[in-house]
Amino acid sequence: MPRWLRDTRVIVGLSILFAVLVLALLAPLLVQSAPDEQDLLSTLLPSAWAKGGDVAHRLGTDSLGRDVLARLLYGTRLALSVAAIAAPGAMILGTIAALLAGYFGGWVDWVIGRAVDVWMSFPPVILSLILMVGLGTGSRNVILAIVLVDWTRFCRVLRAEVLVVVRRDYVTAARLVGFSHLRVVLREVLPAVVPLLVTLLTLEMGIAVVVEAILAFVGLGVKPDEIAWGQMIADGRATIYQAPINLLAPVAAIFVTVAGFNLLGDGLRRTLDLRLVEGRG
């Protein structure tokens, strides 16, 4: 078994994420009611085990009488899809920029470095809000906004790592035995930063889940007919005294999912980071 699969953090993180994924996929089998099915006669029902609860609505209903559990499970689908598309997107953009900057140095590095400076001077929340104003709502635009905001996270960290790798003599040696620049980057430089890349990707997926929730919470994320945790939080806030579960359920869902990604990422960093391992050896 590879070293990284023996780390407790990795195992726990993967288990959480697997469970979340299964819940998202099996959502139609787990709840009878559709997530957008309103029942104005039974609004703000408490959870099934509380007094006055209804077994049909295990986590109760919201102010429009929609089933909270159904919305929670369908919201998982959106959260995971955004994470699964936006994070690799940001990774690809950031990695290309970092490889160009770190490998070629000089003016290429300068230009990319200044672009990162400009991006970093925007707090991520502000930049994504501004982008959403420009792009308009919808899950596709949420993904685009995350990619356009968070590529710098990859670029900054990776560029530093690429600089370390590029200074290794084996990169120079590869050029001397006749490798083209592209081949040196793909065969000698990129493999050295893959462990870091995987770790960052995992952490970025957690960040994507949070950003999606934030944008939906502010009302600038997905379209009104899409089901998102952030929207549930915004709705649940209004009924915090009457039905706190409407607020707490999506908060817990976000926390658990993000914790899954973060535990996995932490475990991977500990076990995959070759520089650390070499340093200890």
Binding site: Y170, T172, A173, A174, V177, G178
Partner: protein, 587 residues
């Protein structure tokens, strides 16, 4: 009373649940005002004694038997605060890496102040200035470590160590990180202070000749055991233990007749391997070994000159043949010709530009071995990188096989690829840890798009050339020993059978016995393939051993060039003379 006394001292490491003695039954005494050299290659355990004195052993290591006394007081059983009281007051330490041994964010003065105040010196400033004067440094209390050179940092650290007039100073490879001329000055300073204060010094080094020059007595350590112990001049002149003798014969000399190098097989067993060994630990590599040697541990016997070997009568059978005077090649066609080569690094952030190489001209004939010697900052590495097209020249001309390769263009690159290859200094950095040995040595074929089967066949040839077993082809570099890694490093450059090898410090940092193996390999490969070699080295003895011609560089300029035997026998330039005189063991 002795300053330091060790009696049957054992330092044990716990490795994978097995206890291994990293220091096994060490016994020695150090009298006041004497200098004892502890000599050994890496892994001999020579640093363990110093660490045991401070009780700062690496994790997993502990003193398990024997005793260690400082001025009659047991250092092992002593309470930590009492030991801490001795450190810096009665026991001083001089480190190996002076540049990193001073706190980078505190000024020299503030670090002196901390030390001297602890010693109870109220007027620390004048005391510090006096201490700096004692190591011939001006008042640099307001400066920071990064503003000083390595030699200056080491002198600061020596001044601090001697500031308390300690009874004992432990110097662990204090000059290894420094240039040879600076090494000579540092060693002289240390000796002066030691004599003036009548300090006992434990001098830990890998360099037997340096130890002989500095020390009164020498103890040679092999795999955690003292194999030979005696007066320094006696041990150097008449080594009686086979290991000491082989070690001396493995290191090329700076003067005297040129001899072949004694190539001990393999290398010192690591701690893991020691666990399964019985008897004499040198036996597997010893030319005098017989079956009995592998059964019982030989005792360290003798009066003033002690040897842990029962076969000293046969020591004279270990010899090396003399070599013919270096042949003068230069009869072949001209392979490299360099004229008026210069390189200026532009100053960044308003700093002044540095002239790394200025107006260098030379040529190398096919099959000729040329050495470039010089200290750090002399521009010798930049010269190698210019030749390989890794730096762009500022001025001058570089021709390979008659054609201009000065530019960046693809044509120059193709020509260079066919003609010249480079061997890098540090195999740790030069070998991609994610590639297998077979893939590394055939990387040039991979670049040319040669098929896998052909590459594997070539890898087998190259490994055979390097004297490495074929099964190593599927290993990762991390699974190889230091010497094997450097062979792979050389093998990669040999893949396309170049006419010129440019080798930058390829044996520095290797143990003497491994260095001898590699030098022998280079000599053999030369005979088989007939390539020319430009050898960049700070080690004059290595250049003397391997190269017919030598260039001496300083501040980017070639100050002297000529036939190696003539330059070494009769140096013309002052700097060459200083360089030669600084080498330990120079006649």
């Amino acid at each position: 009373m002795s300053v330091l006394r060790a009696e049957n001292l054992c330092v044990t490491a716990r490795i994978d649940g097995v206890d291994v003695a990293a220091l096994d039954g060490l016994s020695l005494t150090l009298a006041p005002g004497k200098v004892l050299g502890l000599v050994g290659e890496s892994g001999a355990g020579k640093s363990m004694l110093g660490r045991a004195i401070a009780q700062l052993l690496p994790p997993g290591f502990a003193v398990t038997a024997g005793m260690l006394e400082f001025a009659g007081r047991d250092l092992v059983a002593m309470a930590p605060d009492q030991r801490q009281n001795l450190l810096g007051r009665q026991i001083g330490f001089i480190p190996q890496e002076p540049l990193s041994a001073l706190n980078p964010v505190r000024s020299i003065g503030s670090q002196f102040a901390e030390h001297l105040r602890r010693l109870g010196i109220a007027d620390w400033r004048s005391a510090a200035i006096a201490a700096l004067e004692s190591v011939q440094l001006p008042d640099l209390l307001d400066r920071f470590p990064h503003q000083l050179s390595g030699g200056m940092c080491q002198r600061v650290l020596i001044a601090m160590a001697f500031a308390s007039k300690p009874a004992l100073v432990v110097a662990d490879e204090p000059t290894t990180a420094l240039d040879v001329t600076i090494q000579a000055r540092i060693v002289a300073l240390m000796r002066d202070l030691q004599v003036a204060q009548n300090t006992a010094v434990l001098f830990i080094t890998h360099d037997l000749r340096l130890a002989a020059q500095v020390c009164d007595e020498i103890a040679v350590l092999y795999a955690g055991r003292v194999v030979e112990h005696g007066p320094a001049d006696v041990v150097l002149a008449q080594p009686l233990h086979p290991y000491t003798k082989c070690l001396l014969l493995a290191a090329p000399a700076i003067s005297g007749p040129r001899t072949a190098l004694y190539a001990l097989p393999d290398q010192m067993p690591g701690l893991r391997a020691l666990a399964e060994m019985s008897g004499c630990r040198f036996a597997p590599r010893c030319p005098l070994a017989r079956d009995a040697c592998r059964e019982s541990v030989p005792a360290l016997a003798g009066d003033t000159h002690k040897i842990a070997c029962p076969h000293i009568a046969e020591i004279d059978t270990i010899t090396v043949p003399a070599l013919a005077p270096a042949m003068v090649a230069a009869t072949g066609e001209t392979l490299v010709s360099v004229a008026g080569l210069g390189k200026v690094f532009r100053g960044r952030f308003g700093r002044k530009p540095t002239i790394a190489v200025r107006d260098v001209s030379f040529s190398i004939a096919a099959g000729e071995f040329v050495g470039v010697v010089g200290e750090s900052g002399s521009g010798k590495s930049t010269l190698a990188r210019l030749l390989m097209g890794l730096e762009q020249k500022t001025s001058g001309e570089i021709r390979l096989a008659g054609q201009d390769v000065g530019g960046w263009g693809a044509a120059a690159r193709r020509l260079r690829l066919r003609t010249a290859q480079m061997v890098f200094q540090d195999p740790q950095s030069a070998l991609n840890p994610r590639r297998r040995v077979g893939a590394i040595v055939t990387q040039a074929l991979e670049a040319a798009g040669v098929g896998l089967a052909e590459r594997r066949a070539r890898a087998a040839e190259i490994l055979a050339d390097l004297g490495m077993p074929l099964e190593l082809a599927d290993r990762a570099p991390s699974q190889l020993s230091g010497g094997q890694r450097q062979r792979v490093n050389i093998g990669r450059a040999l893949c396309l059978v170049p006419k010129l090898l440019v080798a930058d410090e390829i044996v520095s940092g290797l143990d003497v016995s491994v260095q001898a193996q590699l030098l022998a390999l280079l000599a053999r490969l030369r005979a088989e393939h007939g390539f020319a070699l430009l050898l960049i080295s700070h080690d004059l003895a290595v250049v003397r051993y391997l190269c017919e011609r030598v260039m001496v560089m300083r501040n980017g300029e070639v100050v002297e060039a000529g036939r190696t035997d003539e330059v070494f026998a009769n140096p013309q330039h002052d700097y060459t003379r200083e360089l030669l005189a600084s080498v330990p063991g120079a006649a």
